[in-house]
Symmetry: C2
Subunit: 305 residues, 2 copies
DNA sequence: ATAAGGCCATAAACTGATGTTATGGGTAAC
DNA sequence: GTTACCCATAACATCAGTTTATGGCCTTAT
């Protein structure tokens, strides 16, 4: 992890406003049109795009009296920029919910994995369909979520795990799989048949700490095949686990949601474990007897379709 | 697509510098320590974090005379922030390569899909292992890449497709699968058996324009089962195709690399097509007879492990 | 105890990027 | 040729983020 940053990232990457402007120029087809849409003046847009071009050392748009279109390099840069902006939108959606205003019309409680990886996307979609829905969010473990829902401090809860807490009705909204992943240099990476549960149980693994939802499911899946998993490292955050596995320290076990990008780019390789039940349901929960209505129903239907 | 943004995204989300600072505080455990590491003064860090807290309306760090640790909400926000910063790092890695400086010691030519989704990650990894390697990048279609490599204008090329251009040696670095994806509301989303190739060939699909690598592979795979694919929409960019599919216009066909996030969040659902060969090799290429050496060899080995 | 060295907060002055208004020069369509 | 788009440049305003200069709090070593 040697980090010898001379100049911080923020000085080498255009800020979000500039990236958003670039995306808008790409969509609209002119600098002045993009400026209008963003509520700034045309010279401001012009100078900002120019500043970005000189900073990157690449021409991004072809200007003509009839409008501006992206250059080939500009198209590539715009695609990369889009990923930054989308991540920022997810941040914004989550952060707004976290503000937890009293007047929120939809109060949600969710487990960490769901709050981290899925909820921002749902909130963006919800904002698209029901603009004006104010959402507040509390994140915690399953017991915490259950308690909030039961106490009517949350209108809807989301939990991951094997069982549904008492007093709650639930609907399965997705299956989350736990994935055993290793660095591509690890011997297991070349085993197309994967590993047996017994071998997994005997191997030293990089894991989340005991008590986490991930750990529960893993221990349950291995209970019949040689007992509990052997921790090589027990780390407190998903990120720390990923970082350790990426550095080649050993196999890690995490939700596939946390590993999507690493697996797609082959920075980590997933190892099949035939015969082990590493799936867990992601559930929406609400108090028994009631039915989610209003905004809660909107969000629930979003997550299920 | 209704976008009624009152205030632009950039005013609601902390800028990259603030997010980077938050990540550093989380890692280091103190405001002043993080400030030192980023080359700013302690009051600057303090005020920036405070500004972020008031903007979000949430306390992010617990300050104490012995240091600062994240609050529960702060940890969640930090995770979201990390995704933004990682996207920005990918942007930076790609943009630096695009600059195409003359003194670049490694000149790469790559097809669009690879340049867009995989190369930034490789460049980050390369910078980690061989700091100081200056990379220049040209993106284009397969023929363009081949020509550059043959003319020794690029030290290493990356292409996707069914065949290897003449005069080049190659190594398969990964298999890319084309994925048929639909919105969760689409009838195909519930078909666990998927669709037959003949049915796929007969259905109106959202596709990239004729001539794209994606389209080539799809047509080849369907050649034996009812002829070419039927385009419902022919769009010029991956993003446009995704957007159309997300809105429920119909099934789309794209590289799984482009769909990773949508599939993970279940915004789109992949439809299996048993019996259709929708895989394509991603290959590194270089002039026949030569062997990649130096920085080219470093990058090549990165991509393969 | 007292001194020393972490940590964080506040105040006031400085800087620069980003914005504005004002103006000018192009091309296309009627 | 007039109108209506487009983009560029110049001069000035504004505000967020910075630094320097302080001060207070807690822990640890003398």
């Amino acid at each position: 992890m040697g980090n010898e940053e001379t100049v911080p990232l923020a000085h080498r990457v255009p800020d979000l406003g500039a990236l958003e402007l670039l995306l808008t120029v790409a969509r609209v087809g002119s600098l002045s049109g993009a400026a209008r849409r963003l509520g700034i003046t045309q010279p401001a847009a012009s100078s900002r795009i120019r500043a970005m071009e000189t900073r990157l050392g690449v021409a991004l748009v072809d200007r003509s009296p009839r409008g501006s279109t992206l250059t080939a390099e500009g198209a590539l840069v715009t695609d990369w920029a889009r990923r930054v902006v989308e991540a920022a939108e997810a941040f914004d959606a989550g952060a707004q919910a976290l503000r937890g205003r009293r007047d929120s019309r939809l109060r949600v409680a969710a487990s960490m994995t769901i709050a981290e990886y899925l909820l921002p996307g749902w909130l963006i979609a919800l904002r698209g369909e029901r603009p004006g829905t104010a959402v507040s969010l509390h994140a915690g473990n399953s017991a915490d979520v259950a308690q909030r829902v039961l106490a009517h401090e949350a209108d809807l809860g989301f939990v991951e795990g094997l069982t549904v807490p008492d007093g709650l009705d639930s609907a399965v909204i997705a299956q989350d799989r736990l994935v055993v992943a290793v660095a591509p240099t690890h011997p297991w990476a070349r085993r197309s048949k994967g590993v047996e549960p017994a071998e997994l149980a005997a191997a030293p693994l990089i894991l989340r700490e005991r008590g986490s939802g991930t750990r529960q499911v893993l221990d349950a899946a291995l209970a019949g095949s040689g007992g509990l998993a052997q921790p090589l490292l027990e780390l407190a955050s998903t990120t720390a686990v990923k970082a350790a596995a990426l550095s080649g320290a050993g196999p890690c076990v995490l939700s596939e949601l946390a590993l999507v990008e690493e697996l797609a780019a082959r920075r980590l390789v997933s190892v099949p474990v035939p015969g082990a039940a590493l799936a867990r349901a992601l559930r929406a929960v609400w108090p028994t007897g009631t039915r989610p209505a209003g905004p809660a129903r909107d969000l629930l239907s979003l997550t299920r379709r």
